[in-house]
C-alpha cells in the first residue's frame, strides 16, 4: 500500500516535535483511509513558473491502479490525457474554482467517470484535489430503465391503437353494420386481452422483483405441478395439434423447496412458450428428474457438437454452486425452429425478441422468460438453454431439492 505517498502525513511529522502521538495517529489513520477508498483520489500541483507541467503529488491505491501511476511527481498528462479532464483540472488550478464533469474512457470496455476538482486552500502552492467516481453501472441502469419504459409503452400502444381505431369505426360509418360490429368486437376483445396479459406480466414481474431477496418458503411436488400445467394447456395443444409428453419418476414425489405458485408460473411460461414455438404435429418433451447436480452440460449433446451446428448452450441463471446441493431438474424440449447461438444469452432480457420474430403472431408479452429468470434466481436455482437452429430448443430448470414435513 502506498499510504506513505500522502504529503500531509509527512508534513505532520516534520517540524512539530511536540505533536501528540494521537494527532499523528489520526493523520496516518486518515491517510490509510484515503488510500483504501474505492474511488480514485489524486492531489495535483503546478509549480509557480510559466508552462510548468501539472504533476501528481499524491494518489491513493485506486487511482494508482486505474491510471497506472508509477510514482509521485509524475506529470498528470502521462497518466490521464483526456482533453476535457485535463482542461477541467487546469482550469481549477488557474481560477481556483472547483468543477465537476463526466467523461468516458472509450474503447470496447468504455467506463464512465465523474470527475470532481477542488482547490486545496491551505497550500501555498497551486494544488488541487481530483476525485474520480466510476458511474458506468449507474449509466447502464439508466439506459436500461429508459429502454424498458420505451418498450413497455410501445407494447401497450400497439393494441391500444388498434382498439381506438375500431371504436372510432364503430362510432362512425359501421354503426349499423351488424356483421362488421361482431367482427370488430372480436378483434377488440383479443387486443384488450393482449393488453391485459402484458399488464399482468408487468405487475407480476415487479412483484417478483420486490421479493427477489426474500428466500421462498414451502415445498412442492414439481411433477404434480408439471402435470397440472400440462392439463391446463391441453386445449391450446389440441387446437395446434402439438403433443405434450411428460416423463417423471413413477410412484414417488419430486419435491423441490420453493413457492408452489411461482414454480407453477415457471412451468407455465416455459411449457407455454414451447407449445407456441412448436410447429404443428410435433411433440414437446417434458422430463422431470428428482435428483441432479447443477451440470447443464451433463445432459444433451457435447458443446462442440452444438457449436458445429450453429447452436449452443448458455447458462442463463447459475446458482451459487455448492457441490453437495442436489436439484430437481426439469427439461422442456421442443422441436421448433431453434435459436441461433448469438441470441441465447439475451433471451431473459425484457422484451428481447429474436430478430425476424414478430410479437403479434405468437402472442407473447416478451416478459415470460424474464419472469422465469427472476423466480429461479429467487429460489437459488439454475436455468440453462441449449438450442440448434432447425432442430429445437431445450430449457433446463434446476430447483433445490426439498422435503415434505
Amino acid at each position: 500500500m502506498a499510504v506513505l505517498s500522502f504529503p500531509w502525513r509527512k508534513s505532520a511529522a516534520l517540524p512539530d516535535s511536540a505533536a501528540t502521538p494521537t494527532a499523528n495517529d489520526r493523520l496516518s489513520l486518515l491517510a490509510a483511509v484515503v488510500d483504501l477508498l474505492p474511488d480514485p483520489v489524486l492531489i495535483v500541483q503546478r509549480a509557480a513558473m510559466p508552462n510548468a507541467p501539472v504533476r501528481v503529488m499524491a494518489s491513493n491505491a485506486a487511482a494508482q491502479e486505474l491510471l497506472r501511476i508509477r510514482g509521485d511527481g509524475e506529470s498528470l498528462i502521462a497518466v490521464l490525457r483526456h482533453p476535457e479532464v485535463l482542461g477541467t483540472v487546469e482550469n481549477t488550478l488557474a481560477t481556483g474554482e472547483g468543477r465537476t464533469m463526466t467523461y468516458e474512457t472509450g474503447g470496447p470496455q468504455s467506463r464512465a467517470f465523474r470527475v470532481w476538482t477542488k482547490m486545496l486552500e491551505n497550500d501555498a502552492r497551486q494544488s488541487a484535489l481530483v476525485v474520480l467516481r466510476d458511474e458506468t453501472d449507474a449509466r447502464r441502469l439508466e439506459r436500461m430503465r429508459a429502454d424498458f419504459l420505451a418498450n413497455a409503452s410501445h407494447e401497450l400502444r400497439t393494441p391500444l391503437a388498434s382498439i381506438t381505431a375500431y371504436v372510432e369505426t364503430l362510432q362512425g360509418h359501421a354503426r349499423d353494420d351488424i356483421e362488421a360490429r361482431d367482427r370488430f368486437l372480436a378483434i377488440m376483445s383479443v387486443q384488450a386481452r393482449r393488453m391485459g396479459r402484458l399488464i399482468d406480466d408487468l405487475m407480476s414481474l415487479s412483484r417478483i422483483e420486490l421479493n427477489e431477496r426474500v428466500p421462498p418458503s414451502g415445498v412442492c411436488d414439481v411433477a404434480l405441478v408439471a402435470r397440472e400445467v400440462i392439463d391446463g394447456l391441453l386445449p391450446v395443444c389440441s387446437g395446434k395439434n402439438v403433443r405434450l409428453q411428460l416423463t417423471a419418476p413413477a410412484g414417488s414425489q419430486v419435491v423441490a423447496s420453493g413457492e408452489r405458485d411461482q414454480i407453477a408460473q415457471v412451468m407455465q411460461n416455459l411449457i407455454d412458450n414451447a407449445v407456441k414455438y412448436a410447429p404443428e404435429g410435433t411433440t414437446v418433451l417434458i422430463s422431470v428428474n428428482a435428483s441432479a447436480s447443477f451440470e447443464p452440460e451433463a445432459e444433451g449433446p457435447d458443446a462442440n457438437v452444438l457449436r458445429e451446428q450453429g447452436g449452443g448452450r448458455v447458462c442463463l441463471v447459475s446458482p451459487e454452486r455448492s457441490h453437495e446441493q442436489r436439484y430437481v431438474m426439469v427439461r422442456i424440449a421442443d422441436q421448433g425452429s431453434g435459436i441461433a447461438r448469438e441470441h441465447l444469452p439475451r433471451l431473459t432480457e425484457r422484451f428481447y425478441r429474436v430478430p425476424g420474430q414478430k410479437s403479434g403472431e405468437i402472442g407473447g408479452t416478451g416478459l415470460g422468460l424474464a419472469i422465469v429468470k427472476h423466480i429461479v434466481n429467487r429460489h437459488r436455482g439454475g436455468l440453462a438453454v441449449e438450442s440448434v437452429p432447425g432442430q429445437g430448443t431445450v430449457f433446463a430448470v434446476f430447483l433445490p431439492q426439498g422435503e415434505f414435513g
Binding site: A78, V79, R81, H82, P83, G106, G107, P108
Partner: protein, 239 residues
C-alpha cells in the same frame, strides 16, 4: 555539460513529450466523438470535431518548433536525440490521424441527412471502438515508454483489417440491394477506410516507441493483410 544544463534539458524534453501526449489525448477523443457522430447521426457533435481539429494543427506546430529548438540549442545525442526526433515524428502521425477523424466527422454530417437510413452504423461503431482501444494502447505504451506494450499493438493490426473487410463486404451487399443507399454507403466506406488508416497509425506509434526506447526497429515481419490474399482480391476486395 553542467548538471544545471542536464536538468534543464530533461525538463524541456519532458514538456515536449507532454505536448505530444496532449495531442494524443485530443486525437483519441476526436476519433471517439467522430464515430459517435456517425452512429448517433449527431450533427452538432460532428461540427465540433471539425472545429476542434485546428487545435491539433496548432499543437503540432508547437511540438515541431520545440523539437527543432531543442536540437539546435542542446544538440542532444543517443536516446535524448531519439526522444526528440520521436516526439517530432509522433506529432506528425497524430496530426494526420486527427485529419482522418475530421474527415469522418465531415462524412457524418452527410450521412446524418442520408435517406434511407443505413442500419450498418453499428458495425462502424464496433470498428471505431476497436480502433479507439488500439489507439489508447499505443499512446499508453508511448507515455510509459513500454516496448512490450508497443510490440503488442504492432502485432495486432490484423483484427482491424478483418473488421474493415467484413464491413466492406456488408456495404457492397447493401449497395447492390438498393441503389438509393449508394451515396450514404460510399461515405460509410470512407469512414471505415479512415478508421483502418488510423489503425495503421497505431502501429506507426508503436514503431516510434520501439525506436525511442531501444533505438532499433521491429525486425520480424508483421502479420499484415493476411486476410486479403490474392484469391480474396479477385472477389472485389480493396487492394
Amino acid at each position: 555539460m553542467t548538471e544545471h544544463t542536464l536538468k534543464f534539458f530533461g525538463e524541456e524534453l519532458e514538456q515536449l513529450k507532454a505536448e505530444v501526449i496532449r495531442m494524443g489525448g485530443i486525437v483519441e477523443s476526436q476519433v471517439a466523438q467522430a464515430v459517435r457522430a456517425v452512429a448517433d447521426r449527431d450533427v452538432g457533435l460532428a461540427e465540433r470535431v471539425v472545429i476542434e481539429d485546428e487545435r491539433l494543427d496548432v499543437l503540432q506546430h508547437e511540438v515541431e518548433r520545440g523539437a527543432i529548438r531543442l536540437i539546435a540549442l542542446r544538440q542532444p545525442v543517443a536516446q535524448d536525440l531519439r526522444r526528440t526526433v520521436g516526439s517530432l515524428k509522433l506529432s506528425l502521425v497524430l496530426e494526420r490521424a486527427g485529419d482522418y477523424a475530421k474527415n469522418i466527422a465531415k462524412r457524418a454530417l452527410v450521412i446524418a441527412h442520408a435517406d434511407p437510413e443505413i442500419p450498418l452504423t453499428r458495425s462502424v461503431q464496433r470498428m471505431g471502438e476497436l480502433v479507439g482501444d488500439r489507439l489508447k494502447e499505443a499512446l499508453d505504451a508511448y507515455s510509459a515508454g513500454d516496448v512490450d506494450a508497443a510490440r503488442n499493438v504492432w502485432n495486432r493490426d490484423e483484427d482491424i483489417d478483418e473488421h474493415y473487410n467484413s464491413l466492406f463486404r456488408e456495404l457492397l451487399t447493401y449497395m447492390m440491394g438498393d441503389p438509393h443507399t449508394i451515396a450514404a454507403c460510399a461515405h460509410l466506406l470512407f469512414v471505415a477506410k479512415n478508421l483502418e488508416r488510423i489503425g495503421d497509425y497505431c502501429t506507426s506509434i508503436a514503431e516510434i516507441v520501439q525506436y525511442e526506447v531501444a533505438g532499433e526497429e521491429f525486425l520480424d515481419p508483421r502479420p499484415k493483410w493476411s486476410s486479403v490474399e490474392p484469391p480474396a482480391r479477385s472477389s472485389g476486395e480493396p487492394a
